[in-house]
């Protein structure tokens, strides 16, 4: 199978990014919900935030690459009725917007005082916007709200994928796993 997408199948780059981001996003969401209630003397008190920020920034870079990849690759045809396709297109665009909003608010919280973000001690990504003391509190609220909202959104997305698989019995879910034929098709 090729790296690039074609008109009827996803390439390995898209598939890998999809599942990698799914796992990482759910992972740092859980980490985020868990870490805010940690005790000050917990050994994870600082480390948890560092890991959360580091993975979050790597996800932001990956999201930018994903957008470029998405725009320079064909998209496999969506299965469904015309209005289902229309909804699917906009829901997919919504994913990008949602991810971008959650990650950028996170970045702006961390850089609110004009200092860069350390990423796993490997390098520091600079603060691109001027310091604006106080925005960490306002944006902190939005970061949390958007993160919970996005979990609901991907829950809906997963539900739709399962509906395609079990109700419509098409290959929408399977082709995101690199399988482009249904068992039923072989009969």
């Amino acid at each position: 199978m090729s790296l690039r997408n074609s008109h009827d199948r996803f390439g390995w780059v898209s598939i890998t990014i999809h599942w990698l981001m799914a796992a990482a996003i759910i992972g740092i969401f859980v980490l985020g919900v868990w870490m805010v209630d940690l005790d000050y003397y917990d050994s994870w008190y600082h480390k948890s935030l560092w890991v959360h920020q580091s993975i979050g920034m790597l996800l932001l870079f990956l999201l930018v690459f994903r957008l470029v990849w998405r725009l320079t690759n064909p998209v496999p045809e969506i299965m469904g009725l015309w209005w289902e396709k229309l909804i699917a297109i906009w829901v997919h665009r919504g994913h990008y917007l949602f991810m971008f909003a959650v990650m950028v608010t996170g970045y702006l919280i961390t850089t609110a005082y004009g200092r860069g973000v350390d990423i796993f001690g490997w390098f520091e990504f600079p603060a691109l916007l001027a310091a604006d003391k106080g925005r960490e509190t306002t944006l902190g609220f939005w970061h949390m709200l958007l993160a919970w909202g996005f979990m609901g959104y991907i829950g809906m997305h997963a539900g739709a994928a399962l509906k395609h698989h079990f109700v419509d019995r098409d290959i929408t879910l399977l082709r995101m796993l690199g399988i482009n034929k249904n068992r039923g098709d072989e009969k």
Binding site: Y40, T111, Y113, R115, K133, E136, T137
Partner: protein, 193 residues
Amino acid sequence: MKLKLLLGTALLVLGISTSAMAEDYVIDKKGQHAVIQFKIAHLGYSWLIGRFNDFDGTFSYDEKNPSAAKINVTINTASVDSNHAARDKHLRSPDFFNVDNYPTSTFVSKSFKELGDGKAELTGTFTLNGVTRDISIDVKHVGHGPDPWGGYRRGFEGTTTLTLADWNIPFAPKLGPASAEVELYFSFEGVKQ
């Protein structure tokens, strides 16, 4: 007779108001010649120093009658600044200052007593996190006199120590035993009105 009375009253009112005005100062917020700072132990190994960037206040002080001195300060609790975005966000949250519920903290003086040698004791009512308690502040006269721009200024500094457990701060016990108390320091320069 009537005119005399009117004139007399007018003079009296004018006299009172000028004498009252003569001792009223507004804290120089515009020029930022005023500081409210807090200092608390971090783990018992070093100090964390932070401040409130936004507050307003007035005081009155008459050298001939110092025990009548008064001060009134209102602090915008959301302006807390310890020079660390994540910590300040935490300080504004319900774990500490709960700024959505308690956007302001106030101090209203009750008594002022000169102790000599430029020192004084100020007592008053401090409100923080919805808790109102009487506190005592050690005050020092810093200086006073005309400024180069045609005004008259007077400045004080003061310190007091608060016990976190008294002020409705849910996260306080988690900071550890070394951080049970916080030292407040202020320096106010007032411009005479």
